[in-house]
């Protein structure tokens, strides 16, 4: 069955956990920029954690569902409604045939996720449903949503909704999947491959100053405005691998933080990497907003990451096994 896009919102794409296994051929991983909120949106409706969802930007889309469904809207802030009646965020929602779901408008934060139980069932390209905007593949025809688009989804009835809601109530009490948005985040870093090319003073600048997100930022990365980490130094390297979270220092001396759509390789020195649990907050920053960095140690980074993965594992076990293509509905 379908969900019809009545209004596309500001900028909405189909994203899943990302396209892995093809980086050596130059394919960016893509997928959700804020991995935490995206994962929560999926688990809340009883999806696998990396299922395809809609990632929306500030002003979310409006969809009409042809048949019953179960959805969630997760974002730092939003005011979703069904048929004009306000519904809560970070909660499984019952959708009935013909209902019009509006993801809402974000007063703060940048990206939100609308998850549908069973996922957005566009064709997989190279194993993933993520939209790669640069090369126009994946998601819905490799592009952002337009008014009138038709999204393939799975119908889900009232009984299934009851099951999802009950499970969510229990799991959310024991291991809450809730909004963790904060302004002016401090992102913890671990050293990058070229860390020792930079003087202690340079690293000190990166980890003591406040930076602002530039308007040139997008899903590929955050370009930052602020004190140059180095001056008048060539920062070229023979091209090497990148992943989201990597911080490159350009020859101008300013940092760029890689995000989901980043290139697979880059030619600038990689001074550090944002640790995985701290990257989602950066994907929520609007141009002009502030952030800062500080170095951490592997032990702390690993502990935070392990806690996050354990939480996901706990929810997955609570939700039970599911096979791709087989709906519980």
């Amino acid at each position: 069955m379908s969900a019809i896009v009545i209004r596309k919102g500001m900028f909405t794409t189909v994203q899943d956990g990302g396209r892995t296994g093809h980086a050596a051929e130059g394919f960016s991983v893509c997928g959700a920029s804020d991995r935490r909120t995206f994962t929560a949106a999926n688990l809340i409706v009883g999806n696998r954690p990396d299922e395809s969802t809609l990632e929306f930007t500030v002003d979310g889309p409006t969809l009409r569902f042809e048949e019953d469904a179960v959805v969630s809207v997760c974002a730092p802030d939003s005011d979703p409604d069904i048929n004009g009646n306000r519904v809560p965020v970070w909660t499984p929602l019952r959708v009935q045939a013909g209902d019009v779901v509006c993801a809402g408008r974000m007063k703060y934060g940048l990206r939100g996720y609308l998850a549908v139980k069973g996922g957005i069932r566009v064709p997989r390209i190279l194993g993933s449903r993520a939209t790669d905007l640069r090369c126009g593949i994946g998601g819905l025809e490799g592009r952002a949503l337009r008014n009138g688009d038709v999204l393939p989804v799975i119908p889900c009835g009232g009984r299934e909704y009851e099951r999802v809601f009950r499970r969510w109530r229990i799991l959310n009490r024991l291991a809450p999947m809730t909004n963790e948005y904060r302004t002016e985040p401090v992102a913890r870093l671990l050293p990058g491959p070229e860390a020792d090319r930079f003087s202690r003073e340079a690293v000190g600048i990166l980890t003591s100053c406040t930076y602002r997100v530039s308007v040139d930022s997008n899903r590929m990365g955050l370009r930052l405005e602020g004190p140059a980490v180095v001056q008048g130094l060539r920062t070229d390297i023979p091209s090497g691998g990148l992943q989201e979270g990597t911080i490159q220092i350009t020859s101008g001396g300013t940092p760029i933080v890689m995000l989901a759509d980043c290139q697979t390789t880059g030619g600038y020195a990689r001074i550090a990497s944002v640790i995985p649990t701290d990257l989602p907050a950066l994907a929520q920053l609007r141009p002009g907003e502030k952030l800062s960095f500080r170095m951490t140690d592997r032990g702390a980074a690993l502990r935070a990451y392990r806690l996050w993965r354990m939480k996901i594992g706990f929810w997955e076990r609570g939700i039970g096994k599911y096979a791709d293509g087989r709906s519980e509905c």
């Binding site: 093809h22 050596a24 960016s28 390209i125 671990l190 990058g192 491959p193 390789t265």
Partner: protein
Amino acid sequence: MEFRQAGLTGVVCFPGGATGDATADAVAALTRALNDAGIRGALETVPGFDSVFVRYDPLRVSEHGLCRKIKKVYERIGEIRTTCGKTVEIPVCYGGRYGPDLAFVAENAGLTPEEVIRIHCAPDYRIRMIGFLPAFPYLGGLDERIYTPRLETPRAEIPAGSVGIGGTQTGIYPLASPGGWRLIGRTPMRLFDPEKGALYAAGDRIRFVPVGPEVFEGRDP
């Protein structure tokens, strides 16, 4: 072999090498060996120009454990052979509307356009790595006679399939993209397939084959 940390989930290996070619051989051999070995916890192996980047799950393998396993895989590689991988022929229509900078490259080199084409087609170029865009090959082996500086101001859009020279490098733009390379020709070939991925991999070779403009007949300009 040198290992460097790339945050919590990455490791970069520098196999070293006395010459550029030796390094390229080592990078290609290590990439192949890692893909074959399938180390538990290693998620993705990406060859760079002089390094191999491995993304991994730190809950399945420790950084220390991963480096140890990579080192073992590398030591077990027998003779590092240069001649691995396949050769892919890329038909190129040189000059005219498909190669607007061919005349400049020729003049800059003090050669005729025909000589530039002959020199450009002569070698089998080794793919050192793929990056920047899907199927964008970083090629080694451009003849230094046709090294040409990049454009002062990059073009806002280069047509997909454009073959160009940028400084000491040559390559192909698989997709329309902004760029500062000098365009000497264009290929009608689709360099990646959404079903299967790129047409070639790091370690393969590319041979440019000159063809006439009829290959573009009936297509959009």
